[in-house]
Structures are given as C-alpha cells and as structure tokens.
Symmetry: D2
Subunit: 370 residues, 4 copies
Amino acid sequence: MTSTFGQLYRITTFGESHGGGVGVVIDGCPPGIPVSVDEVGRFLARRRPGQSSMTSSRQEEDVPECLSGLEDGLTLGTPLMLMVRNRDIKRSDYNDLRDVYRPSHADFTTEAKFGLRSSSGGGRASARETIGRVAGAAVAEQLLRFLIPELKVLAWVDSVGEVSASPQNPDLLTREMLDGSLLRCPDPVARIRMEELILDAKRKGDTVGGCIRGACLGVPPGLGEPVFDKLEADLAKGMMSLPAARAFEIGSGFQAALMKGSEHNDPFCFVDGRIRTVTNHSGGIQGGISNGEAILFRVAFKAVSTLFIRQDTVNKKGESRALLPEGGRHDPCVLPRAVPIVEAMALLVLTDHLLRQMVMKGARRRDVGF
Amino acid sequence: MTSTFGQLYRITTFGESHGGGVGVVIDGCPPGIPVSVDEVGRFLARRRPGQSSMTSSRQEEDVPECLSGLEDGLTLGTPLMLMVRNRDIKRSDYNDLRDVYRPSHADFTTEAKFGLRSSSGGGRASARETIGRVAGAAVAEQLLRFLIPELKVLAWVDSVGEVSASPQNPDLLTREMLDGSLLRCPDPVARIRMEELILDAKRKGDTVGGCIRGACLGVPPGLGEPVFDKLEADLAKGMMSLPAARAFEIGSGFQAALMKGSEHNDPFCFVDGRIRTVTNHSGGIQGGISNGEAILFRVAFKAVSTLFIRQDTVNKKGESRALLPEGGRHDPCVLPRAVPIVEAMALLVLTDHLLRQMVMKGARRRDVGF
Amino acid sequence: MTSTFGQLYRITTFGESHGGGVGVVIDGCPPGIPVSVDEVGRFLARRRPGQSSMTSSRQEEDVPECLSGLEDGLTLGTPLMLMVRNRDIKRSDYNDLRDVYRPSHADFTTEAKFGLRSSSGGGRASARETIGRVAGAAVAEQLLRFLIPELKVLAWVDSVGEVSASPQNPDLLTREMLDGSLLRCPDPVARIRMEELILDAKRKGDTVGGCIRGACLGVPPGLGEPVFDKLEADLAKGMMSLPAARAFEIGSGFQAALMKGSEHNDPFCFVDGRIRTVTNHSGGIQGGISNGEAILFRVAFKAVSTLFIRQDTVNKKGESRALLPEGGRHDPCVLPRAVPIVEAMALLVLTDHLLRQMVMKGARRRDVGF
Amino acid sequence: MTSTFGQLYRITTFGESHGGGVGVVIDGCPPGIPVSVDEVGRFLARRRPGQSSMTSSRQEEDVPECLSGLEDGLTLGTPLMLMVRNRDIKRSDYNDLRDVYRPSHADFTTEAKFGLRSSSGGGRASARETIGRVAGAAVAEQLLRFLIPELKVLAWVDSVGEVSASPQNPDLLTREMLDGSLLRCPDPVARIRMEELILDAKRKGDTVGGCIRGACLGVPPGLGEPVFDKLEADLAKGMMSLPAARAFEIGSGFQAALMKGSEHNDPFCFVDGRIRTVTNHSGGIQGGISNGEAILFRVAFKAVSTLFIRQDTVNKKGESRALLPEGGRHDPCVLPRAVPIVEAMALLVLTDHLLRQMVMKGARRRDVGF
C-alpha cells in the first residue's frame, strides 16, 4: 500500500469507507501560511454525496477537524492532521457480499493482493478515500493563493456518455459558476441532455461514465522535474490514481497523434512583454516543464461498477452466482463529484512542483536566505 | 530534476545527448539473477536510430558496458552501472540555435527552469536519454524471466497519423514478429500505408505522430499499491514521462467514458481452475491492482517537433526569428523506435511492483525466510 | 519538516504538545496481522509522564484511538491511524516565554527555521511528539511477534549522571522485570544511587542526564541495506532523532577505537548447528548487516533543558533577560521514560529492515508466491 | 541494497572493489554552479591508499571522469556521473578465501543477506566504495562554496588507540594544515606517538582504531528537518554508514550524560549583532536544527579487520579453519584516510539540508521567484 503522494508537499491519507473515519496528514507545508479549516470544509462539501437525485444518497456531513500544525490560523511548519469521522455507516448493506466478487469492483483484486478485505463497503477502494486527498488539496490551494495569488485551478464535466459539452475558454470560467449547476458542466444545453442520460440510467439501475476537463491558469513557467517527474507525468499519475479513472490526456492528447509536426508545433511569440505561444497544443507543458500557458488536460472515468441490475459473477470458490440489485447507496454518475477531486489532484501536483522549483530558483540566485 | 524511477527496483539515469555518455545505475536488483550484458545490448539496439530511411540517420552503436554489480553473469545484489558512450556528436549542427526557441521543443522551458541549457542538442530532453531507461528495463526483463518465466511484455505501433492497425490479439504476437518489420506494426496492410505517410512527411520536411499499444501477459494478480501507486497510475506516469507522450489509456480508456456500467463491467467466470473475467474492459487492472488478465494500454505520441520546414519563432529577447530547416539528424516518425521504450517502462513498473508485492506475500505466509 | 520514518514500514507522526492531539499513520503494515489497540495503549502508558515524583507531573491518559486499517482485530493492509487527544493543556504556563529564548531549547532554532513557533510549550520539539513513534512501534512489535516470535527488543537505564549500572546479560532480562522499578534499571544497587541523584537534582531545580542500553535478541542474520541504510546507520538515525539524544554506539562503540584489531575481531565458531561469533564486539552487526548475535547499542541523553533555576538568556531583540524558574511540568530526569521510546525506535528500524529483506529472500528463492 | 543518500541533493553510488570501476550519479545539483572535475580529483586523492607506509600499498590513481551534467565548467541541473576505473586489481590475492569467513569482515553477513558474495575482496563492503561518496561530496563542496562562501567543513584525527590529540580550536585549523601531516592530526606531539603506535601494530601484523573529530563552521541557523531528519540524526546516519564506524557523538556526546542541566545548557548572548551561545555543549544543533554555532562531532572507528596474524574461524560448513596472514594490501590504521570521507559525509548532509531549507525560506518570503 502506498498512501503518500508528493515529494515536498506530501500527503498521507488514511481511512476506509466504513471504519472510524478518514483523513490526511500533510507534511511539508511551509510555516506562516494562513489556512482556514472552514475553507477545507467547504472544499470537502463539494465532493460530498447526497447532493441531488443524481448522486449517492449517503449522508455525510464531512466537517473536518484539524488536530495539529495550525495555530491562530497560521501553519506552524509542522504536519497538519485533518480528519472526518464516518457517521452514516450501514454495514448490513453489504453483509451478503462477503463471498461474492462484484464485477469490476476491487473485491477480487484486493483479496488477491492482501488475502483478505474489509468486510463491508469498498474499504480504501471506495471514493470516500478521496476525502484525505481533497483535504490535503484544500490546504494546498490556500498555500498557492498565498504564494501566487493569480493561480487558478478549475475542472468541469466535459462529457457524460455520448453527450459532450461545447469547447470552453477556461479564462472565462469560475468555480462558483461551475458549482452553480448540479452537473458542474458549463454548457447549459449539454447539461440538460446529460441530466436526462443520468436519470435514464438511474431508472434502469444502470450507470454512466464521462470525461472531466481541467485547466490550471497562471502557472509560472519552470514547474516539472524531468526526466521522470515531468509535470504531465505527475498529473497523469495523480489523475490515474483516482477511482474509476481510465485515461489521461495533456493538451491535444490522442488528437496529437493525428497531427503533423507542422500542425502541432506551437509557435512562440512575444506579447505584453513576455514570451508566449500562439497556439497551445502542448497544453502548457513542453519537455515536461510548464511554459506559462494554460495547463489543459482531460480525464476519462468509467461508469460506476455498482449496478441495480442483476449481474452474473462467481464466489470465492469459483461457483456461479447471480448478483442481485445491491442495496447500497451509490451514484448513477460519479462525474459531478469527481470535479473537485480532479481539481484536488491538480492542486497537489502543482504545489509539490512549486516547492521543488523553489530549490532551483533559490540556488540560481545564490539566495540562501539566512 | 528527478532521475530516479521506482521504489524497490530503482533506476537512476544520467547523460545528455551530446555529453560524454548516457547510462543507468540500477539499485535494488536482487542477487543471484542471471543477467547478460549482451542481451541488454540487443534491447538497446532495438531503440537505436539509423535503422532505416524512416528514422534518424545518427549512428550510435550503443554497446553497453557494465562496470558493477555483476560477476560471472550473476547479479551480486549491488548496484549495476550500465553505460554507453556518445560517439557521433556533431555540436556544430546546433550552434546557430543558441538564442532561438524552437517551437514545441524544451528550449524555452529548460531555460525557464534552469536559467541555462545545454549548448547543443536537447540535453536530457533528447530521446537519447531513454537509453538508461531501456538498459534498466533490459535487466528487469531478465529478472522477471527468472521469477515468472511466462510473463511477456509487448508493444507495437497501433497508428501513424490517421492510419490505424486492425485490432490485435496479443497472445498471438511475439517480439520477434513485431521487430520483423521496420515499423513494428503487426498489420501488414496498415503498415504499407503508414510507411507512405511517413515518407511523404519526410519529403515535405514534416513529421507524423501516432499511437503505441502495449500488452503485459502472464502478470499475476495482486500487483499495484493503492491508493496512490495503483498499477495504472504508475504505468501512466512511466509512459507520460517519455519524450513526446501526450496521452495514456488503460483498458477501454476514453471509450470507457461512453459505456454504461452494464456494458463496461467485466463479469467474473471460472475457467481452467481459476477465476477470470469474461471481458477485459478493465485492461487487467481493477481497483489499481492486477487481476491476472492481460494488461492492455495505449500511449499517444505527438509528431517530432524538429521540422525541415521554415517556422516562425522568437529569440531570447522576444524578437521574431525565422527558424530555417534544421541540419540535425531526426526522425520523421518516432513511433517504431518508441516501441521498445514503451516496453521498457512497462517492464520497469511491473518489476518494481512485483518486488513490492513480495513483501505482502512473505508477511502473509509468515515466510520470513531466515 | 520530515515526519515520516521508514521505507516499507513507514510511520508519519503528527501533533504538537499543546495542540488538539498527537498520533501516527502507519503505512506498509502487511494485512492479516493480529493487532490489539489495547496493547498499543499499554506501550504508550510506559512512556507516560506523571508516573512518579521523578518524572513530569503532567497528567495524560493517552488512551489511543484507532480510526482505520483494523477490522476485527486484524490489519487490512491499509494505513492504521492511531491518535491520542491532548487533554491536560495549560497554555498559561508558557505565556511569558514568547519573546525569550530558553537556553538549549529549540525556541531559537525553530524560529530560525520557520520564522515562527508554537506559542506555548515545545510544539513538535516536546517529548510528547514521541507518542506517534511509540504507537507505530507498538504495532510493529505485534507484527514482529507474528513473524518472528522469538525476537525480543529491550532497553534499560544504564547510567544516570555518574552512576552506572553493572553490565547486564540481556538474555536474562525481561521487559516486565525492567518495568518493575520506576527507574527501569536492572541493577538494584545503582538504582538507589540514581534515585538519590535525581531527587537531589530535583530539589535544586536542576536536571540530570544519562545513558540507555538497548538489546535486540533473536534478530535473524541478513538485516541491513548497505551501503547507506546499514542497520547501525538506521539505528543511529532513529536514536539520534529522539529529543535530547547526544550520542550513539553500536557494540563496543567508542571503546572499539581503543582496541587492536586482534582484540576487537570476533572469531567465528560453530555452535548448536549454526555459525556464531565467540565474542560480540561487533554488537550483532557486521558490514552493516545483522549476523544473528544480539544487537547491542547505547544512547546518551543530555539533562533536560528546563530548569527551576534562574538562567541568563536573551530575547528576540538580543536584550539580556533573566529566565526565572519555569512553572511548567517537567522531568528532572528523562531516562526512565526514554526507555520505551528507545525500544520503539529499535522496533521500527528492525521491522522496516525485516520487510526490506523479504524482497531479497523472496527473489532468491524464486518465491514469487502467486 | 540502498545506494542512494540524500533527499534533494541525492547521490547514488556504485562499484565493487574489484569490479570495473566505482562512481556516483549526483541528482538534484542546481544548475549554473561552477564545478571543476580536477577539484573532485584532488579530493579523491586525499582518500587514496598508497600514500605512506602507514596505509595500504594498493596503487590507484583514481582520476575521475565526468560523463554528464557539466558543460563548460557549469552544472546543467541534470545528473552528474563521475567515475573512476579500477586498475590495480589482484584477484588472486583472495582466491583461497572463498569458503572461509574472515572474522569481523562482511563475508558471513553478505552471504546471509544475498546468498552469495563477490568472489574477491570486500565487494561493496570495501572502503573503495567510498569513492562515490567522496566524489559526490567534492561537487557538494563546490556548490556550498557558491552559495555560502564562508562555510567550512573540516575533520582531523583525534585519537589513535589510546593516544589522543589535545583539544583543538577548529577556527584555527585549515585543511591544508591538516593534510600537511600524513596522519592528519593537528597535534604534533600526539602525532609522533600515534605514528609509533601504528608502525608497532604494523610490525606485529595487527591494526589499530581511533576517533575522528569533525567541525562545520559558518553553517547558517535553520538547517535540520525535525522530527526524523534532525541534522544530528542525518549526520549520525551518514557517519555510521561508513565502513568500520562504531559510534557517533554530537557536541558533548556521551559527556553530556554526566552533566547537570545547569552545566550543559548553553546560555544565549548577543555578540556582534547576532544571537549566539556562550558555550557550545550542543555542538551547534538544538532541537535538531543548526543554531549558527560550530557543528562539532566525533566518530569512532574500529581497527581494520584484516590482520597479518593467524586467526581462528570457520568455513561455510562450520568447520574450524585457521586463517593465515592475508596477502592483500590493507591499512594498519584507516584513520588518516577516513578524514576526507568523514568530511564528505558532513558535506553531503549539509548540502542536502541547505537545499531543503531553501523551500521553507522561499515560501516564508513569498519568494516564488518566477
């Protein structure tokens, strides 16, 4: 198990979906940074289930408690521990599943790896695990705001099933605007069709997947640590470590494979006193290092595996079993709730790389600072 | 800079394209493993330029030398250092580029990060950097063969520009078969059209991108370290750290976003005495852990940025400059040479995760082994 | 700040002395291990203050709560989070110290590093920080007991000030025996003189230091990871990271510097079917790797810096200030309470190295285990 | 095996005593730093054997070659690989030792760990392994000189056997002065007696141990990363990872255990515009963080295990064997050659911690620097 993410801004998360609680220890956050636990709570609220008929009906207040690392609203430079207790646990929902492998869940692989698994719910394979990530990112965002006020990280629902939103200009989007709709999709026309698709799937006991786009604006040039910790490599890892994530693109992504070099290359130009690129097929990263343009990426999520439809499977002994509609509380579509989680992973990666680049910058200027 | 990859099987690579040499230190390889340096050389030869009219004409023999960690053909359990000297260096090719930023190269971002850059060639941004990765993987493959003889890692060219190969059954492919054609594409019809596309681009001084598919067969269930080092997350990171990689998919990838849960879920079945899945939309990984099915992934590579066409750009001062056709030696299409590099990253990830899982397995069995 | 210790068995600790609580996240503990939280509580009780007139009068129950990673008394293979809330906090004790640097405390250096410090108490420089370490080690001990039942880690007070205990045969000691006296010193004669020394210092408002010896029995040969993570190097680091630790010896330690090679070398012999050494000047470690003999070490702790005697110092502006007897609750002698903490660090190091060696062993035997 | 040391300034060393060569990859060295490979060579020459009748007669020129990371005398921010080929290899010296365990060598433990060992010489247990460390440190020293010109790291022989040098004021020492005598001991009277002791041991085929003192001057306050990577903890680990090291002290060390708090506490004062301590029992580190005073430490080394005296031991089967005087080339006293190696480990630790502290400092000042 690896529950730590990041090199200098490091989060270590803990907690099963049906244990005592979930949370995070943040190590490496610099001292003297204003951090509001309420703001962490508001970020957490964005990923909370039970927000609408389109998401899980599990009720969790998810008010975070901070036990360390903060005093009088300022970080001490010591680890912050933030946690949320689990309250709405219904173990009985899951009791009859102990010996049956649910298709495309982590039941079988968890047992293959560990020899046992949490008796109820998904354990660490549940999306509830992401609370620690989001809490860590909510602190990261406050640190970034302190260091680079103009930096902005946004994500939105780009597609649900076959329904895609029209292309967006991320400069014109705000998080408030995106959170204004339950679907967190900025295209009002697509949104209606997405809702229909989700509610239709729900009625049928089925689920739908989709894509999320992310944009990081105001990122300074120079972030990324070739050759292995290139910025897009760490973004890819962060996103692909999310439950149900199946694909990741930076910039033009798979489309880039169809383009000639003469089409894909982003010419440099000089605008408003700084060097920029005319186009941004690179998605803000070249040679693994940010170039100051918007960092643009896309993540695909598969449909949730928990269905309210009869499915065929086997039990531990390999005997055929019919999996009847499950009584648990689950999302017909995880996409809207995945938006803040995608933002969280981008914030974590950027914060870590910003701190890493400070070493280079400080040394270049002989800026030892003592 | 981060030049180390892996947690237990760790490679640390070094070397610029136009410095004294390139190579790798492998730390964490268990002792007593038969390793042939000649076999490393043969793997390296597969990524070598100068193999045909379709790849760079740079001539490098790339015969590796091993200075440590091996005795009488067996690993000692100590670090292996493998290196290749650079021979065919033409610094003058690049002299007039010192002040100009080549579009979509790492020139600008390297300077933004480091404040300076290698005077010639791409430094560590050159594909020559991958020699260390491949050498590390060639040893990993020999370790894997010792531990799990039936494990097989393969990659092939899936598309060049708009031309795609037909779907392949990886069980029927062999590396020899794939290496049998210059393009490393198993579809003979598509191959012809791909070649035409590449040669056409070359004639025009342009370049083309494409996709590579990879398959890991015979991987035991249980590899992957949730929640952050999920197997697909580490594969994604490894692949996206490659030069020119722009997108990564596991299993159904972006296609998964279009599918209903009832379509995407892989039902379990019991075949030949073990639990398997009927379909494999998951691409062999569920909940971040291998399930014993074929691990299937795809990586998109953009077209090479070095063109033999006039391009507009700026110099360090922001002044407009025309970039005339470059005199360097470059590939019109990197795809065939990227095949062994993609295999290399998959081998490195699998080897690292195999060693990591040994800890779990040993402990579960109280198999301390002393 | 670095709050993580270990490579495979990793603890991440958190908590200030006067914040909401202190604790640990344990990542990397294998699944299926019987772990009792009550036993963790008993280990914690051994380091608790307020046990006698010789230690701090601060009252903390320190009953640990486990929020994750355990189910039905077995580890899940996921992170265990164990925490203890702070209850007996008296912030007012420290209010007048905000601008004055207490001699040999971390006040000045914490400000030099972080630019600020916790307003009260020692923050993370307090011995209360060690609760996380001890909780992590109490789980490690249960894991070790599962894997190697005969392994035993013991520590005892070897000296207080000038008073030294007679040499001990660790095979004859038990933790119960050592815990039987308040001083945790097995020599009853020395113990009386140590107590006198401590109470005399207490009467004078002064403090005393001393040494702790540790012994690890039943450690299998083969633990230790040269060249940097040699077993004695990691033990040294663990011990020297403890508050007030000033020196570390393995085996003969500084005495070894006085001996000829012919005196220090430990001849090998063959006893009871296995290869052993006649003497054990090496302290159970040769070439950085355990040899199966008792691992023997010693750690020196300076006297506690908090005195009830007037001291001269300066404030933040550099102005001379007299530091009057402090009203806080502190130990005249930290040694007895340091005993379980020293054991804790040894347990953490051994557990980590045991898991690391499993990789080597598994590979050597081709014991992939799937 | 762990062959990497450091978090941000990371060295990865490789090479056996009788393989093709030894060396280091340095990752994390900032760009634009003037580095001379000749200076690395001069540092290496200080640890070279064959310098006098008192050290091994093995002849190695040890001229380092740098294959990467440097251009026109400036670092590129990419990994530096520095290596030295092994030349004076006499395998036959060791042939008859294959089945016999030399007392207090790493033969037995290496086999216990790895199941095999290098057929000749000590493999990685040989002091030749330290070449990579020293080369890495020689670059670190040049980086430190660039960043903090006044910083100075020195070590000297403090004792050989029972003969101790008089206390020294490190401010008055220079490396040139110390290197001026073969023994690297600044006390001319003690030096004569040390030489007699060593030559007497040599005549008898025996060996002697001793202690080295180290001093780091001009270190800024604020270095050290509590709670686990305290500066003295990382120094202890670095030193205790050296071959034959047996004990480590910071500041008063074991002497501290004998002192009252009122004796050991270092009062603060204000001198020449900055806060200092009147005494320096702390050895320049308080709470794990440098306080700006001289960092003072001591390391004990046991006598070399290779003797030219008959010794009793056993072979692999446990059969008694007499080990006759060995024909290899070894030091009667390793101390003089250990001096530059001790300096090297101190340089590596300080450099790593300096870079780590830059992150804190940069963030505190909102000094993002882009």
